[in-house]
Symmetry: C2
DNA sequence: CGGTCATGTGACCGGGTGGTCACAGTCGTC
DNA sequence: GACGACTGTGACCACCCGGTCACATGACCG
């Protein structure tokens, strides 16, 4: 949790520190990320960082939280916008495409998301990843539940199972498109957006197939 | 690649170093793992490590490779044993359960697998993860292909898509059962093996459903 | 025995780390 | 102008890192 000093800071200074921290942690991860570098890139003395945050972990947790809020805000229209007028699998594919587009155009957020997902140290992950995952859960579950309620997904479909699968696949999709070596034979880093969309449909389609009503 | 000195070493000394390195890298990951600790735990001078390997990355790459060989060897019966006499989805569920069992009883291998999968630095991942992933690919693809050939999976099924999905889900299953915060609502860390198996079936079942023939 | 060579060792090196703190500056208020 | 509270600063601390290297050890051979 940032200190009160941080909240009183001028917005431009806050943004400079936040961006520098997102960049550094997003590029090198938590343990390898350097406060010296963050302070230098932000144009701020290192001592100042310790007046704004309790320490490195506190800063990282703040960065992770802010990032997840930004991502969540960007995806909110898709999380809230489903009304059953479009076939759900089509809607979800569109939403996933927007998801990929967002990370393609927001490398800072992509980096921090990667660093958060890849963190190994349980202490760090507990401070950072579990809350973020809860945010995703709170966004996805109602969306899936609504699709079941409207009959766009099969009555009695295992909502928890689908949500769990999405929770595994979503971060993977977001990162695979930009980190080589994460992909299987079906690549998401395709040069053409159409290829990427088609390949994503190849992956998400089969997963959804068992959840849609038989007569569709 | 280890030096020739390493290959001439007594097996007990090699094993001591290997185990210490698996433990350290598996617990703390590559960048945070310490050669000082490895040398101490192995009962070996730090200088000796540099007579066995070119440096830290070389040691880590060796550890990752050896680990993937061990895992691969343990799973080989399942990769080779499919002959179409059992329904494929049943066979795969059994194989995945063996997969979970293996990591439950081999914490060193589990730790290194986690560290390999969670590595952020592209240079390290290229040196380590891509080869490992190729090993998985070489094991999984023939298995799936055989299931298509025997008609246990639908003719014309998208083999690449299923393999890609498995490549994403498998490491996740292996690690989720032991690293809190990685799981969605459907948990694999259940106390009872039956619960765990049932939950895994809830996740893998829908994924497979679209690949099995319609008349089954 | 002396000589050679492979191997083992740990003090040591330069460098980077997260974190601290004594000091300097900068406001608003009386 | 004088005060006090808040904020900014970077030299500094103790510590740990990966990597090196001069030397010790010991096995084998003539």
């Amino acid at each position: 949790m940032p200190t009160s000093t941080w909240t009183r800071l001028s917005p431009v200074r806050r943004e400079r520190v936040l961006v520098a921290a997102m960049d550094e942690f997003g590029t090198h991860g938590y343990s390898t990320g350097s406060l010296n570098v963050i302070a230098r890139e932000a144009g701020v003395a290192k001592g100042s960082l310790f007046q704004y945050f309790e320490g490195k972990l506190d800063l990282f947790a703040y960065v992770a939280e802010q990032t997840s809020l930004r991502v969540h805000a960007a995806m909110r229209p898709w999380l809230d916008g489903y009304d059953g007028s479009t076939e759900f699998s089509r809607y979800l594919t569109d939403a996933l495409e927007a998801w990929l587009d967002y990370f393609a155009s927001h490398p800072l957020e992509r980096g921090v998301t990667a660093a958060t997902n890849m963190e190994l140290d349980p202490a760090v992950r507990n401070a950072v990843r579990a809350p973020v995952q809860d945010t995703y859960l709170a966004g996805l579950r109602p969306l899936v539940q609504r699709a079941v309620d409207t009959g766009d997904l099969r009555k009695g479909a295992d909502v928890d199972a689908l949500v769990s699968l999405l929770l595994i696949l979503l971060p993977h999709f977001a990162l695979a498109a930009h980190t080589p070596g994460l992909e299987g034979p079906v690549r998401l880093a395709g040069d053409h957006p159409e290829v990427r969309r088609a390949n994503m449909a190849r992956l998400i389609g089969p997963v959804l197939a068992d959840f849609v009503p038989k007569d569709r």
